[in-house]
């Protein structure tokens, strides 16, 4: 136990976690965000390129019980892969659950420049984080092998 040895240590809801720690038996979770076995998904590259957590997982910090915000079907993945610029955010905002894409009311500053719309921020991020081209990331072997 890392977090729950310090947070909510006595909460009855977390009894299964403490029991698992005591007995050494793993907790069996049901996977919510799951892809089929023929898809080889790498998480780290998405975080590295500036895809935020809630972009794919939804507002998990406000979910009492985890659910699938998006279908995670191939057409949904391709929707971003065909135009990553509309979903990118600066790396330091990736873990920010309350991040809002830049707007004229709430601009986002990066590298000293102020952005008021996602497309210009996104296209600069594509260059800055050296994303591969759309043809590259929509090649079948990117995910299927």
């Amino acid at each position: 136990m890392n977090c729950h040895s310090q947070i909510w240590t006595g909460a009855p809801l977390l009894e299964p976690v403490r029991e698992s720690f005591r007995s050494g038996k793993s907790l069996v979770w049901t996977r919510v965000n799951d892809l089929p076995d023929f898809v080889y998904f790498n998480h780290s590259i998405h975080i590295n390129k500036g895809v935020g957590c809630n972009t794919c997982h939804g507002p998990v910090d406000r979910m009492p019980l985890m659910y699938n915000e998006y279908s995670l079907q191939m057409e949904w993945c391709l929707d971003c892969h065909r135009d990553p610029a509309k979903n990118l955010r600066p790396r330091d905002q990736v873990f920010n659950m309350r991040y809002e894409p830049p707007s004229s009311l709430k601009p986002v500053t990066m590298d000293g420049k102020e952005y008021t719309d996602q497309m210009s921020l996104g296209s600069d991020l594509v260059k800055k984080y050296k994303l591969r081209t759309v043809t590259d990331i929509t090649s079948c072997s990117t995910c299927h092998r």
Partner: protein
């Protein structure tokens, strides 16, 4: 979902219905092979210049028929007795019930985290640990890839001096050996499952009784041991029981080498070669390029380096051999000669090197060859080497030592060290003594560690009979399998595999590697260290403690912990390499060779190229691995030469009875081009009775013919036809790229002089790049464009790439029945092409992976878009889209695509599930698969490099075949980087593509093979 695979397994094959059908299925595999026609075609040069089989050479009508098809007639049909209609009827009901729901929702899967996750583990990222694989006492240093603490792939340790990163097929296939579901899983005594505690208890009485007689009744039989720790333990045991005896026996032993060294130098020495310094290499029946020859991995690397025709120092190789082998195939000049006559050639060489040849008149071909070779050797004193084959008699070895000394090669291309074997004794004498003691009733306790003498001991000793009928009170067997020997022992201890246990071993140069486990023993197996420690009276030993304690005694420096961790990290122990030692020839005269009677037929016993001596019988990857020259799988037919076959009226697949000294074995025949006349070769290791599901019953057992007096060759066998035939599964002849109309220049070769005169001889004019209906794509603008160059000069046909690919990509084993109809699944194949006289042809190897054509013919014809092109130039295979029309493989001119006709993958056995590489899909029935340039490795390295904001360095990303190739023949990399090794090789004038005139623009290209013939022998 109804498991369709279970249906195919349970269907019975009706024999009588099948037989007629089968004949039609495989034309050309049997039937009249007209060797006369073959010879005639060669004589008139009407036939193909390069041919893969004698059938092809003869141009038989069956072979012509085969050329029209990719698979033989009926391969894509349902061969079982249940008709297609019947099958659908059976399935129809269940399909309706399963409900054809579209895949909209994934079935729920659990995810189970660690409670306490090990610090260094990142799930999904493999880790690599250094260890070593031992065969015949010689260690191969390895780095084993481990996914979530399950070893999945064996790689070479590229920093280790003895191998420089190469491995051999046995090391690669050892992963399957560890996960073999047929491995012994318990300690057993007389058929009952027992515990280790039970065994220790059972030892108590006998051991204390033996203490009283100083161990006079104890005999321990081991295989060759080089492990310093185990040898030390054995000597310690012999101190506790001074009258006990340690016997050593392996069927593929090096007694002749030992005796030869003792004859020449008076002491056992290890002979090592520095082939990178050799301008002239002469092999007297030494297959030094094949797995099983000590040090072969390093020798392949050094040999390949010296075959570079652009270096100005290309070596020249002469081989005299008694059977066909990969080393003979790579020779510039090859002389097939019976094993018993090679002694004379050695003598002639010795004489000619000293004195020169007296005249220009030669009384035999052997003499002419020897004279030319001697001239070349004399012209290269100090930079030549003569190597004698392990199975040649001691006299030949001694003569060869003398020749090397006379030429001044010692210290330059040849050097001597202490033996790697920790107990170098004559093993045949050792087991003879043991059996004599057994029959005399002197043995009270026999411990057989890791051997199978009931199957492979010399036949005249009758070891199995002695073991069974001499009433030895306590017989203990330690082994990986409950094999023929375990059956006859009261106690069987299941052994821990080297990937599960601690130990140590010496490589061919003496360097010690610590063997560390990659996984806890799957079945609580015990290692030899634990058994010997228990026999010596140590309570509850662990192999970790035993090995570590030994090295604590050896390590004189202060910080043992640092030393231990460094040795484990590097993969070897610093300072253990043997230094060369000075030895001097005791005598210059050696026993006169025995001359075999001229008309008699000689039989050669050889270790099998993929099964070795029988220990790997149950390894499906090795059973299905095509042998280097005959491309045989699953069987070990008797090799005979074409001339003798003609004389005796034999053709391939005929059954013959071989009689030697009153013993008989019946086996099928294989006519092998290049095999010496009046001689047959039989391979050991098949025909086992208790090997497991895969090995039992496969092939033919020739050990009953093998006596202790002449374990390697003897003249005087008689052959007689039985009139029956036996179907053999060979991959030769399948996946041909030739056409019925004419052959294509697939293998391109020239002599060194020819190459210097016309360097670009191999290039043919490719059609212009824009002569295509395909859309052009600017691959040169991408950061990476993957390509591969295969240097045919370096490839020695060792087949390591095939096993490595099988291990990395979860390729299934299909079994003999399926191999007969050409359904083997190897993604890379090594074709062997012959050229010239069928009695002594030249041979060439050509590994063929997917060509990854830029204008791929397979991509346009897929109706569902399952094979498309990636932006980096890879021809992608998307298994989830494939519906199995097989149009792509029909259209592929290289025939590199493999189809899953049935569910070849095992989805049930838990051990095999653990073995698989999680980064590669396990394919089901009905999908096409092929080489992907190891796209999983490409993705992994690309993602890592992008995260670290750098480019992938050349050489960092290696395909499985490239990484395993001991010769560095396969080079893969980024062709958009002009400085990468692959780009440089593609700029070499020898570079050519296969079938370039089809304008497929393959990314895999070849460097033509150059041979370096001597003028003296060519004329």
């Amino acid at each position: 979902m109804f498991n369709l695979s279970s249906v195919s397994i349970h269907m019975k094959m009706e024999e009588q219905d099948d037989k007629g059908h089968r004949e039609a299925v495989c034309p050309g595999k049997k039937g009249a092979l007209d060797l006369d026609a073959a010879r005639a075609r060669l004589a008139e040069t009407k036939g193909p210049e390069f041919w893969r089989s004698l059938e092809e050479l003869a141009g038989s009508p069956e072979w012509q028929e085969m050329m029209h098809r990719e698979f033989p007639k009926g391969a894509s049909e349902w061969l079982d007795s249940v008709s297609r209609r019947g099958f659908l009827k059976l399935m129809g009901a269940s399909l309706a019930m399963a409900g054809m729901t579209a895949c909209t929702k994934q079935p729920l899967e659990p995810i189970v985290p660690y409670v306490r996750q090990p610090e260094e583990l990142v799930p999904g990222r493999p880790m690599f640990y250094a260890t070593a694989f031992t065969l015949g006492g010689y260690a191969s240093p390895l780095l084993v890839e481990s996914h979530m603490y399950r070893p999945t792939k064996v790689e070479g340790n590229d920093k280790h001096p003895a191998s420089l990163g190469g491995t051999d097929i046995f090391a690669q296939a050892s992963i399957l050996e560890m996960y073999d579901p047929d491995r012994s899983q318990t300690i057993a005594s007389l058929g009952e499952v027992r515990t280790w505690g039970n065994f220790v208890e059972a030892l108590r009485g006998p051991l204390s009784a033996q203490k009283a007689v100083q161990g006079a009744g104890i005999r321990i039989l081991t295989r060759t041991i080089s492990s310093p720790t185990l040898a030390d333990q054995m000597r310690g045991l012999l101190k506790v029981y001074p009258q006990a005896k340690w016997h050593v026996y392996e069927p593929v032993n090096r007694d002749s080498v030992l005796e030869g060294a003792k004859l020449a130098f008076g002491q056992p020495v290890e002979t090592q070669y520095k082939l990178e310094n050799a301008d002239v290499i002469v092999s007297l029946d030494a297959d030094f390029l094949s797995a099983g020859f000590p040090g072969n991995v390093r020798y392949i690397r050094d040999f390949a380096k010296r075959r570079d025709p652009d270096s100005g120092k290309m070596s020249r190789v002469y081989v005299v051999e008694s059977t066909t082998s990969a080393t003979g195939a790579k020779a510039d000049h090859r002389l097939p000669m019976r094993a018993g006559e090679i002694d004379q050639v050695a003598g002639l060489l010795n004489r000619f090197v000293e004195q020169g040849h007296p005249s220009d008149v030669f009384s035999s071909q052997g003499e002419k060859f020897a004279a030319a070779v001697a001239n070349d050797l004399s012209a290269h004193r100090g930079s030549s080497v003569v190597i004698a084959g392990d199975h040649q008699p001691p006299g030949v070895h001694a003569t060869v030592h003398a020749i090397n000394q006379a030429l001044g090669n010692v210290g330059k291309t040849v050097f001597y060290t202490d033996p790697v074997d920790a107990n170098p004794i004559n093993q045949t004498e050792s087991i003879k003594d043991l059996v004599a003691d057994m029959r005399a009733g002197k043995v009270d306790m026999l411990v057989i560690m890791d051997g199978n003498p009931a199957y492979d001991a010399p036949a005249d000793l009758g070891f199995a009979d002695a073991l069974k009928n001499t009433n030895i009170p306590l017989r203990v067997h330690l082994g990986l399998y409950q094999d023929e020997t375990a059956e006859l022992c009261q106690w069987h201890i299941n052994e821990a595999h080297y990937l599960e246990a601690w130990g140590d071993a010496r490589a061919c140069d003496g360097t010690v590697s610590i063997v560390q486990p990659l996984i806890a023993p799957l079945y609580s197996g015990k290692s030899a260290h634990e058994l010997v420690a228990t026999l010596a009276g140590q309570p509850d030993p662990s192999s970790h403690e035993v090995v570590q304690n030994y090295w604590k005694k050896q390590h004189s420096g202060a910080d043992f912990d640092m030393f231990w961790r460094k040795s484990l990290n590097d993969g070897w122990i610093e300072g253990t390499t043997f230094a060369p030692k000075q030895v001097s020839l005791k005598t210059a005269s050696f026993p006169a060779p025995a001359v075999p009677p001229p008309g008699s037929i000689e039989i050669n016993f050889r270790r099998d190229p993929s099964i070795y001596d029988g220990r790997f019988s149950n390894n499906g990857w090795l059973q299905e691995l095509p042998k280097p020259m005959s491309k045989m799988t699953w069987d070990n037919p008797v090799l005979i030469g074409p001339a003798m076959a003609e004389r005796l009226g034999l053709k391939s697949e005929d059954m013959i009875e071989i009689e030697l000294n009153g013993k008989k074995v019946t086996a099928p025949v294989w006519v092998q081009a290049g095999h010496p006349d009046n001689s047959i070769t039989v391979f050991l290791g098949y025909g086992r009775r208790r090997a497991g599901r895969v090995g039992t019953g496969a092939g033919f057992d020739f050990y009953p013919l093998r006596d202790s007096a002449d374990p390697w060759f003897i003249a005087g066998v008689t052959l007689s036809k039985t009139g029956e035939t036996y179907k053999l599964a060979t991959t030769q002849g399948y996946q041909t790229m030739d056409t019925p109309v004419g052959t294509r220049p697939l293998v391109r070769t020239a002599s060194l002089d020819g190459y210097h005169k016309e360097p670009a001889f191999a290039r043919e004019d490719e059609p212009p790049k824009d002569l295509t209906l395909y859309q052009p794509y600017p691959y040169e603008k991408e950061p990476y464009a993957w390509g591969m160059a295969i240097d045919l000069n370096a490839c020695v046909g060792c087949n390591n790439c095939i096993v490595a690919c099988q291990s990395e990509n979860n390729i299934a084993v299909v079994g003999k029945e399926q191999c007969v109809i050409g359904r083997h699944m190897h993604w890379i194949r090594v074709d062997a092409y012959y050229q010239g006289d069928r009695d002594n042809p030249k041979a060439y190897f050509q590994p063929v992976p997917c060509m990854q054509c830029e204008n791929a013919p397979c991509e346009v014809v897929c109706p569902v878009g399952a094979t498309v092109h990636s932006s980096e130039g890879l021809n992608d295979m998307v298994y989830n889209r494939c519906v199995g029309t097989r149009y792509c493989s029909n259209n592929c001119p290289y025939k590199v695509r493999r189809f899953n006709f049935l569910l070849f993958q095992d989805w049930e056995t838990p051990q095999l599930k653990m073995m698989r590489n999680p980064d590669v899909t396990v394919r089901s029935r009905g999908v096409m698969e092929k080489c992907t340039y190891c796209v999983q490795r490409i993705s992994e390295h690309r993602i890592d490099s992008e995260r670290e904001d750098r480019k992938i360095a050349d050489g960092e990303l290696q395909t499985a075949c490239q990484q395993s190739c001991p010769a560095n023949a396969i080079v893969f990399g980024n062709i958009n980087d002009p400085e990468s090794r692959v780009s440089k090789l593609k700029r070499n004038p020898r570079n050519y593509s296969l079938l370039a005139d089809l304008n497929t623009r393959p990314r895999t290209t070849y460097l033509a093979e150059i041979r370096n013939p001597s003028e003296e022998l060519e004329s």
